[in-house]
Point group: C2
Chain length 258, copies 2
């Protein structure tokens, strides 16, 4: 097979990725239909009211030191709703979210702050997909952490993770910071990341609740990769929304021209 594709084909495919937003929105609405036999509380979304994003930054940071990253973001969002609304939130088993620490029990898969935020969004949003997509893309490409917190011991050092994965995110930071993955500085950085993700989650949920658009776009480079490798592409051998270069930069350097 010719490894080059022509410009027209590439533009068509990129248009397909961009246009997928409208279809995804419809799918997001359809998916919040729960099986008929379930009890009322098994259904989602549970009620939402606009929350304090700046308070969530500190609450997420503090929560990290109680139950780590996944617990921290989940509690910073859903704990606020518990205080505002009581039931049904007051009986949710918050401590369950402890499992996502370190990318699930130290396996370093998805960043626990993102895992907890995604769970919270699905619990409280009538249309969770745009919020979660926007949050993940923001996490990949924003210099983080980006919140001021009280009781921090070290100066804030930011890095761009270029991936939603725990061990890639941590590695990107340790390279910039010159601190080890088991250092107290790295731990505090993950506390600040928990606060940063909690804040951003609430900014997005509040925007959605106010009827504002919640945007999400792949980078031009990732769109380029996906124009061949994702659905409808000439190769079509992958399913993902992750930034490709975050992990595959060695392969990209050797990639044939398109």
């Amino acid at each position: 097979m010719d490894k080059r594709i022509n410009r027209r084909k590439l533009i068509t495919l990129l248009g397909g990725v961009a246009g997928a937003g409208a279809v995804a929105t419809l799918a997001a609405r359809a998916e919040q239909v729960v099986p008929a036999a379930a009890s009322p509380l098994q259904k989602v979304p549970w009620p939402y009211q606009p929350l304090d994003a700046e308070a969530a930054a500190q609450r997420g940071f503090d929560g990290y030191y109680k139950g780590e990253c996944m617990y921290g973001t989940f509690e910073a969002v859903v704990g606020q709703l518990t205080e505002k609304l009581g039931a049904p939130y007051k009986d949710f088993p918050f401590w369950m979210m402890r499992y996502g620490a370190g990318g699930i029990k130290g396996w370093a898969t998805v960043c626990g702050a993102l895992n907890g935020a995604a769970a919270a969004v699905q619990l409280v949003s009538p249309e969770p997909d745009p919020v979660i997509n926007s949050l993940f893309e923001w996490y990949e490409h924003t210099a983080l952490p980006n919140v001021q917190v009280m009781n921090a011991k070290f100066a804030e050092i930011r890095s761009v993770a270029q991936s939603p994965l725990c061990h890639v995110s941590i590695h990107s930071w340790t390279k910039v910071a010159g601190k080890g993955p088991y250092s107290a500085e790295r731990s505090e950085r993950c506390g600040r990341i928990t606060g940063s993700v909690a804040r951003q989650t609430i900014l997005l949920l509040n925007a959605q609740a106010a009827g504002k658009p919640v945007a999400f776009a792949l980078t031009a480079q990732t769109k380029g990769c996906m124009s061949c490798h994702e659905k409808g592409g000439a190769v079509e051998n992958i399913r993902t929304k992750m930034d490709c270069a975050g992990c595959h930069s060695p392969q990209l350097a050797k990639h044939p021209k398109v």
Copy 2:
């Protein structure tokens, strides 16, 4: 720095990784202590009774076609407990687990079947870490899917994921099966994976409830990598339990001798 390390240093480090099990067990017990101000139901674990692992295989497969992978494993475990025990499970928002589909909304991070299983284990186990660690390691190195289900349309084709990540797991299967990542065959494979993970989760939970040991061991190759790159190693630049070669085989091929 000399890139070789001597044999004594290597053995000491490998011993450190193996001996970490006892420390991890103590940490697992300590972590199930919930903040004092929480309501009784916010605490975990919720009560557990031995469940039917073989029934969970079919239930996970069927659940995948209702709410996809994360919902499928979670419901196959916690749905059984709801039928046995009623409260507090009957009011849990099961449909929240929909968020993990496709490695969280198609981002292809952690396999949703594992994400749902880990959430269920933390909810019901007095000592979740050994169960989750054993489950993840089993998922990485077992030819899956490995359960018989009714109403399947295609022949079962197995592959070894060598990673807990969605897109790596799917890619390993598409290479063996010769089917695309958006094919109906791949979708059915993920349904069977959901059933396989639900079954294995219950086998491990039942074993733990019966007082049997729940084992977990890294592969010799990954132990070798971690002897330098993980905590206490000469390089110490990573935090993970994932199989290194699942993603880093190109780097391993060029790695200096140790």
